[in-house]
Structures are given as C-alpha cells and as structure tokens.
Symmetry: C2
Subunit: 251 residues, 2 copies
C-alpha cells in the first residue's frame, strides 16, 4: 500500500536534481544511437548537440553521476550508457501492466522501445469482456476484475493507463490500492494520487509544438527572403490581445 508512505522530497533524490533526472533519458537516447553506430567516444559538445542540451549543462549533469570524461578524448559511449542506465534503474527488470487495450494500449504493448530499456510488459488489462483472452503483442488480455490479483502475482510497481479519460481515475485508484507506486498516464485527464505515488502524464503533442515553433520561424525567414519589406515577425491568426503591447502582465 502506498497511501501510508512518508512524502518524498519532490526536487532531489540522492543529490541529483529533478531536471537532471529528466535529461538522463535524452542523453541515453543519443548515446544509444551512437552505440548502434559503434562510435566509441563522444565529446560533450557532440553529445549535447545530439541530445538538444547546452554542453555546459551536460557536463554539470554528468558531474552528478561522477562522470567527467577525458580531456581530448571525451566520454566513453558504452560506459556512459551503462552508467546512466544504472542511475535510472534500467539495469533491473521492471514489470509493467498496461490498462486499456484500445489502439494506444495495443501500440504500447507492441512498442519495442520498452523491452530494450528494462520494461517488461507483464500483463494487459481491459474492461471489455470481449477482449479477455485475446492476444495482443503475444500477450492474452485479462479482464479488469482481476486487476488486483495481476498486480500482486507479477510484483508490478509501474502501471500504464491508456484508458479513455472517464475511466482513468478509477483505474488509477485501483492500481494504487493494489500497490502500484508509479503511474504513466496517457489518458487526457489529470489524476489525483496519494503522497508517495509518482504520476507522469504523456502529452503526444509536445514534440509537435516544438516543430510548429520552427515551422513558424522558417515561414518568417522565407517571407523575409522573398521581400525585404516583409517583417520577420511570425504569422499570427490575430486571435487574442494585440501581440505588440508591452508584455508586462495586465493582471
């Protein structure tokens, strides 16, 4: 049960700032790409560029891991992959359950990127009795009635919620009551959990938003290139308050 657990400090765990923790998977993704291309070493500048992070920040982040690289050589790719994986806890096996086996749940069950990071899909759970026993990604779907037993039998501490928004909080409550202490939420709703339970919400539009920023800039540059009279300002649909007013808050 997680409800009785003492509240954990939100910002630091063993001295590693939360923002650094959030960047470790980005470094790991870039390092894995280098490893797949058999690149033996990487400079902080190259790795920072590949991960989309400032190189001074990368060096600071790695100092929390006790990793300083070698002057003129850089960082050993394989050793850093191991070191970050260990720090993130990915060198151990994490059984996860996915609840809600619609298109998204099925896509997640089939997603190769979980297994390669130590996440083993231990069970798939759906509320639709017609789904029960049907194999998805080679795993038979089980009914929500058995949720508590499934969590217990598999020693699951991480649950993935891919249900519709309306069902997510109830599923979350049952997962937590059954002993799950980390929730990855794909449902478009905000979940309430007791202290000691971590929830992360996935927003699939975040990367699109970053692309839109660059598209807007590219459109502005193109316009400027075509005619010197066209200002560099972004295209704007004209919704909302005038964009050119001083931006000190009106409140």
């Amino acid at each position: 049960m997680a409800t009785g657990r003492t509240h954990r400090p939100a910002t630091r765990s063993r001295g590693i700032p939360e923002a650094t923790v959030a960047r470790l998977p980005l470094y790991l993704r870039a390092l894995t790409a280098l490893s797949e291309r058999s690149v033996p070493t990487v400079s902080s500048e190259e790795l920072a560029a590949a991960a989309g992070v400032n190189s001074a920040k990368l060096r600071k982040d790695f100092s929390y891991l006790g990793s300083y690289g070698t002057r003129g050589v850089g960082y050993d790719v394989e050793y850093l992959v191991y070191q970050i994986s260990r720090e993130l806890g990915l060198t151990q096996d994490w059984p996860v359950v996915i609840v809600g086996i619609g298109n998204l749940g099925a896509a997640l069950a089939n997603y190769g990127g979980f297994a390669s990071r130590g996440f083993r899909v231990a069970a798939l759970i759906d509320a639709d009795p017609a789904m029960a026993g049907k194999p998805v990604a080679g795993i038979p779907v089980q009914h929500t009635d058995d949720l508590e037993k499934i969590i217990d039998d598999n020693g699951v501490s991480i649950g993935v919620i891919a249900t519709p928004a309306g069902a997510a909080q109830q599923v979350c409550d049952r997962l937590v009551a059954a002993g799950v202490t980390s929730i990855l939420n794909f449902a478009p709703t905000v979940l309430s959990v007791p202290d000691g339970v971590d929830v992360r919400k996935v927003d699939l539009s975040i990367e699109l938003q970053i692309l839109a920023f660059h598209e807007q800039r590219k459109a502005g540059e193109e316009a400027a290139g075509e005619s010197a009279a066209v200002p560099l300002a972004p295209k704007d649909s004209g919704k909302g308050p005038d964009g050119d007013v001083p931006a000190v808050m009106p409140a």
Copy 2:
C-alpha cells in the same frame, strides 16, 4: 522543396534559446491545466513546480517572451497561455498528415490533444491497399501512391511517421521531396534529412525511465527504513562494470 534551403542556425531562433523553446510546451501544459480549473493567476514558483522546472529558469525563459509577471500577483494564466501559444505558432492552423495507420497511427489520429493545440489531421496515409477508403477517426485512409498529391492539396508542412522502422526513411524522403519541412518520427529508427528539415523523434519510454528512477529510490528508502544495516544504494542486477570504481572515464 526543402533541399535547397540555407541551413538555419540550430541553437537560436529570433533570440530564444532552443532549450527554452523545448520548455515552452511544458509551461503550456501546466498553464492549460490551471486554466481548466479557472485559476486566474500563478506565481513563478507554483508554475515552475507544476512544469517540473527550476523557478529561476522559468523567469529567465519568460523574459525571452517579454513576460515578467506582477510582483505579489504573479502571472496572468490566460494571457500566458495566449503568449506561449503564439510564440510556438499554435494560434495558426497546422495541417498534418499521419503516415502508417497501424495501432499507433490510429491512436494518433484519435488523439484529442492535437486539435486543441492547432494541429489538424488533414489526411491519413497507409501503404496497405486494403486500408484505402476505410475511415479511422472519421477520416478515410488514403494510399501511399497519392502521398505527393495529398501534401500538395492540403498545404502540409508537418508529417507524422508511424510506419514500421523499415519503411520510415523512404516515407520520410517522399514527404520531404513533396515539401514537408518538419517530421515527427515515431518509428524506431534514425532518419536522415537534408538541411532545413527538422526531425523530432518520439521515445515513448522516456517518461517510464523517469518513473523507474523514482521507483528505484523508493525501493532504496523502504529497504533503509526496514533495516538500518541495508545500504541506501540502488538495487542493481550486477550487469556491467563495478559501479563503485571511480567514474573518471577509462577510455
């Protein structure tokens, strides 16, 4: 055509650092949650905590937008939502195509979080002739043969690739040749694109990795609570080099 475009500076666009751009969607997500709860104003500390960012960094980021808040009152939530949306280019309409309508493509087509951010799914494209004409999320799937015409007819500049890894580069090349300048890649492969084209790769396991980090810490804390003799060190499967050697790079 994007191939002839001059290379755009990778780190800055109109003076806003890339790392700030990457955080704007996180602020927007937190602000949208506040807006949905009709919260009128928010302090930099509250917003920073909700977005998982250091509050000094948040204030620095907002200074690039010309947003400084009001002392003792904080930031106006609605105005900041508008301001960040405008900066990211979300106040205009972005038609996107999704290529590869398996479980993941179908889940993306049905994903409500795109439309609310200005991303309109203009077309769904799949290589399977049996899929052609079949509606997914109310949109009839079109065949890959018509990809170039679809991009052109809909003025699409952003393409989402949800194909298997083996098909992704070819689809990417055709999208780029047809005029797409931003690619969101869900396929588990690294794509090559010409200068001037932005690619972002989605790794659905990143949030799970952050949860695993906290689970590992919780397990360590629990063990320490149960017996003072149990060290706080994380559980480790014992793979790889000894974790306790000095971490200066061996290379």
